[in-house]
Amino acid sequence: MRCERCQQNTARLTVTLKTKDGTKTSHLCPMCALTLPTFYTPHTKAVRPDVSCSVCQMSLSEFRQGGRLGCSNCYEVFQLDLADVLNRVQGTDHHVRPLPESEKKAEPTDALRGLRQALKDAVEAEDYYLAATIRDEIREKEERN
């Protein structure tokens, strides 16, 4: 299934929002889910939209409780939380791999340009956790300017 928003990426998450007219379910890719204003962060206690995996239906709260994944797709759905879990149990949150060019340090003047490229690379590599971190950094820099 394609993502309802971008019509491009695979829809990996099912997001259920409770509104006054009932519940609304959307099938999104992790990148589009990140742009939702109410999307959770790893440190949000209460999860406002109910996020679950489109393949195995594991929900975020179920994952937080059990600490185990339900299928390979869950790794993309819960990656915001996963970084904390992996740092705790493995002492790192990344597999060994060669560093992409954009992650190597960029000139300070080119910071924003570098970050935008890095965001693009991260999305292409489907590394949404990295993408989310870069996105926040870009926002912060833009607000400061």
Partner: protein, 342 residues
């Protein structure tokens, strides 16, 4: 790794490498219903048995085989105790020599495991990795550049590799140094547990050293660190044995001789007593206090005198008293066959 050598085969009982792999976008075993589990099981067994070619492999459906047979597989460490809990179309595909196998639908869809006698991590890894790569060639295996191979539990993600060496540590156990050793090991990302896996007590003083970290490191680095740490453990076991020997050589020799005496004469013997005496005998043979039996015979006995194995092989009910007599009989015969004049 240049450090692996079979000269440490006396203290190192066996080496094992296990690689966890899963199918992409199919729920992990604990989230499968019976029908899906059967499909996954079939898909993987078909692939693995196709790759086996002319080699003789066994396909054991763990739900339907005799429970005693299943228990015997646990005692020989071919199936984990946990696997007996929630199994749903779990299978063990195993080569006739029991040195290469695939556990299907345990915690992960596949656990490819290779076992070698002695200290031989390199060979065990190569054999497991080769089968894993060939399976990956025909199955759609789940991995991501960020996380490596994806597994049900985040403690296995990345390489999906758990490598271990089983070591015989009677002197360190006698000197009460096991808890300290465990602390040292866990500081460097390794762990130690008893052969039987329950708590810290170890049947026959056999312990397993294995890696805990599976993410962010290359397989070869994990293996070479594990080799190095195992060599250090072997070295301190040797020093501890020497200290016991030096303190009272006569008592040392006497202990070994008595163990041999009981093992070759007992008419009835419990599993626990037999394991403990075999451990003493093994230490004596390794030190050269005795020339027989050979270590192979002891290895073999240690793996095959568990209650389920005795009952399964002798085709009897696992009734305690009868079983102790059968065990004593078996040990007596094996040790006498192996006896030369010394």
């Amino acid at each position: 790794m240049t450090m692996d050598t079979n000269t440490h085969g006396d203290i190192a009982f066996s080496s094992r490498v296990r690689l966890a792999r899963n199918l992409k976008d199919i729920p992990f075993p604990e989230r499968l219903d019976d029908k899906q589990a059967a499909e996954v099981s079939k898909k993987i067994s078909d692939a693995a048995l196709r790759l086996a070619g002319d080699e003789k492999w066994h396909d054991l459906a763990l739900k339907t085989i005799d429970p005693l047979h299943r228990q015997a597989l646990v005692e020989r460490h071919l199936v984990s105790r946990e696997m007996l809990g929630g199994m749903h179309d779990a299978r063990l595909l195993i080569r006739d020599d029991e040195r290469l196998g695939v556990l299907v639908n345990e915690e992960d869809h596949m656990r490819i495991q290779a076992l070698r006698p002695g200290f031989d991590l390199t060979e065990a890894y190569e054999e497991a990795a080769d089968l894993a790569a060939r399976l990956e060639g025909i199955l759609n295996i789940a991995s991501l550049p960020t996380y490596g191979y994806l597994t049900c539990c985040p403690t296995n993600v990345g390489t999906g590799m758990r490598a271990s060496v089983m070591v015989h540590l009677p002197a360190l156990a006698r000197a009460d140094l096991i808890p300290k050793l465990l602390q040292t090991l866990s500081r460097s990302g390794f762990t130690l547990r008893g052969y039987s896996g329950e708590g810290s007590s170890a049947e026959g003083d056999l312990y397993q050293i294995s890696n805990q970290v599976t993410l962010g490191r290359y397989e070869k680095d994990i293996l070479s660190d594990l080799s190095e740490i195992t060599l250090q453990v072997i070295d301190s076991e040797k020093r501890s044995r020497q200290a016991f020997f030096d303190a009272d050589p006569v008592a040392y020799e006497d202990r070994v001789a008595r163990a041999y005496g009981i093992l070759t004469n007992a008419v009835s013997i419990s599993h626990q007593e037999a394991m403990s005496l075999l451990s003493t005998l093994r230490e004596g043979v390794e030190r050269g206090v005795r020339q027989t039996p050979d270590i192979e015979t002891i290895n073999d006995l240690q793996l095959t005198i568990g209650p389920a194995n005795v009952a399964w092989r002798e085709n009897v009910e696992p009734d305690l008293r009868g079983q102790d007599a059968l065990r004593a009989d078996m040990i007596r015969h094996r040790l006498k066959e192996n006896h030369t004049h010394d």
